[in-house]
Protein backbone atom coordinates (compact mmCIF):
# COMPACT_ATOMS: atom_id res chain seq x y z
CA UNK A 1 0.00 0.00 0.00
CA UNK A 2 1.27 3.42 -0.95
CA UNK A 3 0.48 6.01 1.67
CA UNK A 4 1.05 9.64 0.88
CA UNK A 5 0.22 11.82 3.87
CA UNK A 6 1.19 14.97 1.97
CA UNK A 7 -1.89 14.87 -0.27
CA UNK A 8 -4.62 17.32 0.57
CA UNK A 9 -8.20 16.16 1.05
CA UNK A 10 -9.20 16.90 -2.53
CA UNK A 11 -6.18 15.15 -4.03
CA UNK A 12 -6.78 12.16 -1.80
CA UNK A 13 -10.07 11.55 -3.60
CA UNK A 14 -8.78 12.67 -7.02
CA UNK A 15 -11.06 15.70 -7.02
CA UNK A 16 -10.23 19.19 -8.29
CA UNK A 17 -9.17 21.60 -5.54
CA UNK A 18 -12.24 23.82 -5.79
CA UNK A 19 -15.34 24.69 -3.81
CA UNK A 20 -18.01 23.22 -6.11
CA UNK A 21 -17.90 19.48 -5.54
CA UNK A 22 -19.19 16.42 -7.34
CA UNK A 23 -20.77 14.65 -4.37
CA UNK A 24 -21.43 11.30 -6.08
CA UNK A 25 -17.77 11.27 -7.20
CA UNK A 26 -16.70 12.03 -3.62
CA UNK A 27 -18.87 9.20 -2.27
CA UNK A 28 -17.46 6.74 -4.79
CA UNK A 29 -13.83 7.76 -4.25
CA UNK A 30 -14.34 7.58 -0.49
CA UNK A 31 -15.70 4.04 -0.67
CA UNK A 32 -12.78 2.96 -2.85
CA UNK A 33 -10.10 4.44 -0.62
CA UNK A 34 -11.89 3.16 2.46
CA UNK A 35 -11.78 -0.39 1.10
CA UNK A 36 -8.04 -0.05 0.55
CA UNK A 37 -7.37 0.97 4.11
CA UNK A 38 -9.90 -1.28 5.85
CA UNK A 39 -8.36 -2.88 8.97
CA UNK A 40 -9.41 -6.37 7.75
CA UNK A 41 -6.86 -6.08 4.97
CA UNK A 42 -4.09 -5.69 7.51
CA UNK A 43 -5.07 -8.55 9.80
CA UNK A 44 -1.87 -10.41 8.92
CA UNK A 45 0.41 -7.38 8.74
CA UNK A 46 2.93 -6.22 11.31
CA UNK A 47 1.86 -4.06 14.22
CA UNK A 48 3.57 -1.04 12.69
CA UNK A 49 1.74 -1.48 9.39
CA UNK A 50 -1.57 -1.88 11.20
CA UNK A 51 -0.99 1.33 13.11
CA UNK A 52 -0.11 3.16 9.94
CA UNK A 53 -3.23 1.82 8.23
CA UNK A 54 -5.39 2.90 11.18
CA UNK A 55 -3.88 6.38 11.02
CA UNK A 56 -4.52 6.47 7.31
CA UNK A 57 -8.14 5.37 7.76
CA UNK A 58 -8.67 8.16 10.29
CA UNK A 59 -7.31 10.71 7.84
CA UNK A 60 -9.51 9.36 5.05
CA UNK A 61 -12.62 9.66 7.24
CA UNK A 62 -11.66 13.17 8.30
CA UNK A 63 -11.07 14.18 4.68
CA UNK A 64 -14.45 12.78 3.65
CA UNK A 65 -16.33 14.53 6.45
CA UNK A 66 -14.59 17.82 5.69
CA UNK A 67 -15.34 17.78 1.97
CA UNK A 68 -18.92 16.62 2.40
CA UNK A 69 -19.91 19.55 4.63
CA UNK A 70 -20.26 22.80 2.66
CA UNK A 71 -19.08 24.84 5.66
CA UNK A 72 -16.11 22.63 6.57
CA UNK A 73 -15.14 22.43 2.90
CA UNK A 74 -15.10 26.22 2.63
CA UNK A 75 -13.06 26.56 5.80
CA UNK A 76 -10.60 23.92 4.56
CA UNK A 77 -10.22 25.51 1.14
CA UNK A 78 -9.42 28.85 2.79
CA UNK A 79 -6.85 27.10 4.94
CA UNK A 80 -5.22 25.61 1.83
CA UNK A 81 -4.88 29.19 0.60
CA UNK A 82 -3.23 30.16 3.88
CA UNK A 83 -6.32 31.98 5.18
CA UNK A 84 -7.30 31.30 8.80
CA UNK A 85 -11.02 31.82 9.51
CA UNK A 86 -10.21 32.84 13.12
CA UNK A 87 -13.46 31.43 14.41
CA UNK A 88 -11.95 30.97 17.87
CA UNK A 89 -10.28 34.35 18.18
CA UNK A 90 -11.94 37.01 16.05
CA UNK A 91 -15.00 38.58 17.70
CA UNK A 92 -15.41 41.53 15.35
CA UNK A 93 -18.48 41.02 13.18
CA UNK A 94 -20.60 43.53 11.25
CA UNK A 95 -23.01 45.17 13.70
CA UNK A 96 -26.09 44.60 11.54
CA UNK A 97 -25.28 40.90 11.42
CA UNK A 98 -24.92 40.73 15.22
CA UNK A 99 -28.16 42.66 15.74
CA UNK A 100 -29.90 40.18 13.46
CA UNK A 101 -28.39 37.29 15.45
CA UNK A 102 -29.58 38.81 18.69
CA UNK A 103 -33.10 39.32 17.32
CA UNK A 104 -33.21 35.71 16.17
CA UNK A 105 -31.99 34.47 19.55
CA UNK A 106 -34.67 36.55 21.25
CA UNK A 107 -37.29 35.14 18.91
CA UNK A 108 -36.14 31.58 19.71
CA UNK A 109 -36.32 32.34 23.45
CA UNK A 110 -39.79 33.84 23.05
CA UNK A 111 -41.09 30.94 20.96
CA UNK A 112 -39.64 28.48 23.46
CA UNK A 113 -41.43 30.15 26.32
CA UNK A 114 -44.77 30.41 24.56
CA UNK A 115 -44.33 26.88 23.15
CA UNK A 116 -44.90 28.26 19.67
CA UNK A 117 -43.73 25.55 17.31
CA UNK A 118 -44.99 27.40 14.24
CA UNK A 119 -42.74 30.35 15.11
CA UNK A 120 -39.79 27.99 15.52
CA UNK A 121 -40.45 26.43 12.12
CA UNK A 122 -40.65 29.90 10.62
CA UNK A 123 -37.28 30.76 12.19
CA UNK A 124 -35.81 27.57 10.76
CA UNK A 125 -36.90 28.57 7.27
CA UNK A 126 -35.55 32.12 7.72
CA UNK A 127 -32.26 30.68 8.90
CA UNK A 128 -32.15 28.35 5.89
CA UNK A 129 -32.76 31.22 3.46
CA UNK A 130 -29.93 33.22 5.01
CA UNK A 131 -27.68 30.15 4.93
CA UNK A 132 -28.44 29.58 1.26
CA UNK A 133 -27.62 33.19 0.48
CA UNK A 134 -24.32 32.97 2.37
CA UNK A 135 -23.29 29.70 0.72
CA UNK A 136 -23.82 31.25 -2.72
CA UNK A 137 -21.70 34.21 -1.60
CA UNK A 138 -19.02 31.89 -0.19
CA UNK A 139 -18.84 29.94 -3.45
CA UNK A 140 -18.27 33.14 -5.44
CA UNK A 141 -15.67 34.40 -2.95
CA UNK A 142 -13.75 31.14 -2.98
CA UNK A 143 -13.58 31.13 -6.76
CA UNK A 144 -12.12 34.62 -7.00
CA UNK A 145 -8.53 35.46 -5.99
CA UNK A 146 -9.40 39.11 -5.47
CA UNK A 147 -12.07 38.52 -2.80
CA UNK A 148 -11.18 35.08 -1.49
CA UNK A 149 -10.09 36.43 1.90
CA UNK A 150 -13.59 37.86 2.41
CA UNK A 151 -14.71 34.25 2.65
CA UNK A 152 -13.36 34.32 6.21
CA UNK A 153 -16.22 36.47 7.39
CA UNK A 154 -18.78 34.44 5.46
CA UNK A 155 -17.53 31.25 7.15
CA UNK A 156 -17.79 32.97 10.54
CA UNK A 157 -21.35 34.04 9.78
CA UNK A 158 -22.28 30.54 8.71
CA UNK A 159 -20.80 29.24 11.95
CA UNK A 160 -23.20 31.52 13.86
CA UNK A 161 -26.12 30.24 11.82
CA UNK A 162 -25.10 26.64 12.45
CA UNK A 163 -25.24 27.32 16.18
CA UNK A 164 -28.58 29.12 15.82
CA UNK A 165 -29.93 26.11 13.93
CA UNK A 166 -28.86 23.78 16.74
CA UNK A 167 -30.71 25.95 19.25
CA UNK A 168 -33.89 26.03 17.18
CA UNK A 169 -33.74 22.25 16.68
CA UNK A 170 -33.24 21.75 20.42
CA UNK A 171 -36.25 23.92 21.16
CA UNK A 172 -38.43 22.06 18.64
CA UNK A 173 -37.32 18.71 20.00
CA UNK A 174 -38.19 19.75 23.52
CA UNK A 175 -41.66 20.85 22.45
CA UNK A 176 -42.27 17.60 20.63
CA UNK A 177 -40.67 15.43 23.29
Amino acid sequence: MQIDFSKNHFELFHLPVAYPIDLPALEQAYREVQREVHPDRFANSSGAEQRLAAQWATQVNEAYRTLKSPLARGRYLLKLHGIDTEEESNTAMPVDFLIQQMEWREAVEGAKQSKDEVALERLTSQKRDEEKRLFVLLASQLGDDAVRADGRETVRKLRFLEKLGEEIDDAIERLEG
Binding site: T85, E87, E88, S89, N90, T91, A92, M93, V95, F97, L98, I99, Q101, M102, R105, E106, V155, R156, K157, R159, F160, E162, K163, L164, E167
Partner: protein, 134 residues
Amino acid sequence: MAYSNKVIDHYENPRNVGSFGKDEDGVATGMVGAPACGDVMKLQIKVGADGIIQDAKFKTYGCGSAIASSSLVTEWVKGKSIAEAGQIKNTQIAEELALPPVKIHCSILAEDAIKAAIADYQAKHGGALKEAAE
Protein backbone atom coordinates in the same frame (compact mmCIF):
# COMPACT_ATOMS: atom_id res chain seq x y z
CA MET B 1 -19.37 21.62 34.07
CA ALA B 2 -18.94 23.10 37.50
CA TYR B 3 -19.36 26.87 37.51
CA SER B 4 -17.72 28.93 40.25
CA ASN B 5 -19.97 30.62 42.81
CA LYS B 6 -19.16 34.01 41.30
CA VAL B 7 -20.28 32.88 37.85
CA ILE B 8 -23.49 31.47 39.29
CA ASP B 9 -24.10 34.69 41.24
CA HIS B 10 -23.70 36.88 38.12
CA TYR B 11 -25.69 34.43 36.02
CA GLU B 12 -28.61 34.28 38.46
CA ASN B 13 -28.51 37.98 39.34
CA PRO B 14 -26.98 39.66 36.32
CA ARG B 15 -26.10 43.29 36.98
CA ASN B 16 -27.02 46.07 34.59
CA VAL B 17 -29.02 44.12 32.02
CA GLY B 18 -30.70 46.26 29.38
CA SER B 19 -29.93 49.07 26.97
CA PHE B 20 -29.74 52.82 26.79
CA GLY B 21 -31.50 54.84 24.13
CA LYS B 22 -29.23 55.00 21.10
CA ASP B 23 -29.42 58.78 20.91
CA GLU B 24 -28.87 59.45 24.61
CA ASP B 25 -25.96 61.77 25.30
CA GLY B 26 -22.62 60.08 25.88
CA VAL B 27 -23.90 56.58 25.05
CA ALA B 28 -21.59 54.30 23.08
CA THR B 29 -22.18 50.70 22.06
CA GLY B 30 -19.86 47.76 21.53
CA MET B 31 -21.16 44.65 19.84
CA VAL B 32 -19.12 41.50 19.40
CA GLY B 33 -19.75 37.84 18.70
CA ALA B 34 -17.89 34.55 19.05
CA PRO B 35 -18.46 32.35 15.99
CA ALA B 36 -17.22 29.18 17.67
CA CYS B 37 -19.95 29.21 20.33
CA GLY B 38 -22.46 31.56 18.71
CA ASP B 39 -22.42 33.99 21.65
CA VAL B 40 -23.44 37.57 20.98
CA MET B 41 -22.65 40.39 23.40
CA LYS B 42 -23.80 44.00 23.42
CA LEU B 43 -22.19 46.33 25.93
CA GLN B 44 -23.10 49.98 26.32
CA ILE B 45 -21.45 52.73 28.32
CA LYS B 46 -22.79 56.14 29.27
CA VAL B 47 -19.98 58.63 29.56
CA GLY B 48 -20.23 61.97 31.34
CA ALA B 49 -18.80 65.26 30.07
CA ASP B 50 -15.81 64.65 32.36
CA GLY B 51 -14.96 61.42 30.47
CA ILE B 52 -15.98 59.19 33.38
CA ILE B 53 -18.23 56.21 32.73
CA GLN B 54 -21.40 56.88 34.74
CA ASP B 55 -23.34 53.79 33.84
CA ALA B 56 -23.09 50.62 31.80
CA LYS B 57 -25.57 48.06 30.46
CA PHE B 58 -25.31 44.78 28.63
CA LYS B 59 -27.29 42.18 26.78
CA THR B 60 -25.69 38.82 26.10
CA TYR B 61 -26.86 35.69 24.37
CA GLY B 62 -24.60 32.88 25.40
CA CYS B 63 -23.56 30.54 28.18
CA GLY B 64 -23.37 31.34 31.89
CA SER B 65 -19.72 32.34 31.67
CA ALA B 66 -20.39 34.82 28.87
CA ILE B 67 -23.26 36.39 30.81
CA ALA B 68 -21.19 36.53 34.01
CA SER B 69 -18.20 38.04 32.15
CA SER B 70 -20.29 40.86 30.68
CA SER B 71 -22.15 41.46 33.94
CA LEU B 72 -18.84 41.77 35.80
CA VAL B 73 -17.39 44.17 33.23
CA THR B 74 -20.39 46.52 33.49
CA GLU B 75 -19.78 46.67 37.26
CA TRP B 76 -16.07 47.25 36.86
CA VAL B 77 -16.25 50.09 34.33
CA LYS B 78 -18.61 52.30 36.32
CA GLY B 79 -16.69 55.22 37.79
CA LYS B 80 -13.69 54.56 35.57
CA SER B 81 -12.34 56.89 32.92
CA ILE B 82 -12.40 55.74 29.30
CA ALA B 83 -8.66 55.16 29.44
CA GLU B 84 -8.90 53.09 32.63
CA ALA B 85 -11.75 50.99 31.24
CA GLY B 86 -9.62 50.29 28.18
CA GLN B 87 -7.05 48.64 30.42
CA ILE B 88 -9.36 45.82 31.51
CA LYS B 89 -7.87 42.50 30.46
CA ASN B 90 -9.63 39.23 29.89
CA THR B 91 -7.20 37.55 32.28
CA GLN B 92 -8.53 39.71 35.14
CA ILE B 93 -12.11 38.75 34.27
CA ALA B 94 -11.21 35.06 34.02
CA GLU B 95 -9.37 35.21 37.33
CA GLU B 96 -12.17 37.01 39.16
CA LEU B 97 -14.76 34.50 37.92
CA ALA B 98 -12.42 31.49 38.21
CA LEU B 99 -13.23 30.51 34.60
CA PRO B 100 -11.91 27.13 33.46
CA PRO B 101 -9.63 27.13 30.38
CA VAL B 102 -12.46 26.10 28.00
CA LYS B 103 -14.38 29.25 29.00
CA ILE B 104 -11.56 31.76 28.63
CA HIS B 105 -13.02 32.84 25.28
CA CYS B 106 -16.04 34.23 27.17
CA SER B 107 -13.77 36.63 29.04
CA ILE B 108 -12.06 37.56 25.76
CA LEU B 109 -15.48 38.37 24.33
CA ALA B 110 -16.19 40.70 27.28
CA GLU B 111 -12.82 42.45 26.89
CA ASP B 112 -13.46 42.88 23.16
CA ALA B 113 -16.95 44.24 23.92
CA ILE B 114 -15.74 47.00 26.23
CA LYS B 115 -12.97 47.85 23.76
CA ALA B 116 -15.54 48.07 20.95
CA ALA B 117 -17.74 50.35 23.09
CA ILE B 118 -14.77 52.61 23.81
CA ALA B 119 -13.86 52.69 20.11
CA ASP B 120 -17.46 53.67 19.32
CA TYR B 121 -17.34 56.43 21.94
CA GLN B 122 -14.07 57.75 20.54
CA ALA B 123 -15.39 57.64 16.99
CA LYS B 124 -18.48 59.65 18.00
CA HIS B 125 -16.51 61.95 20.28
CA GLY B 126 -13.79 62.56 17.71
CA GLY B 127 -16.54 63.33 15.19
CA ALA B 128 -18.08 65.91 17.52
CA LEU B 129 -14.72 67.61 18.06
CA LYS B 130 -14.10 67.75 14.34
CA GLU B 131 -17.51 69.31 13.72
CA ALA B 132 -16.82 71.91 16.39
CA ALA B 133 -13.48 72.77 14.77
CA GLU B 134 -14.93 73.26 11.32
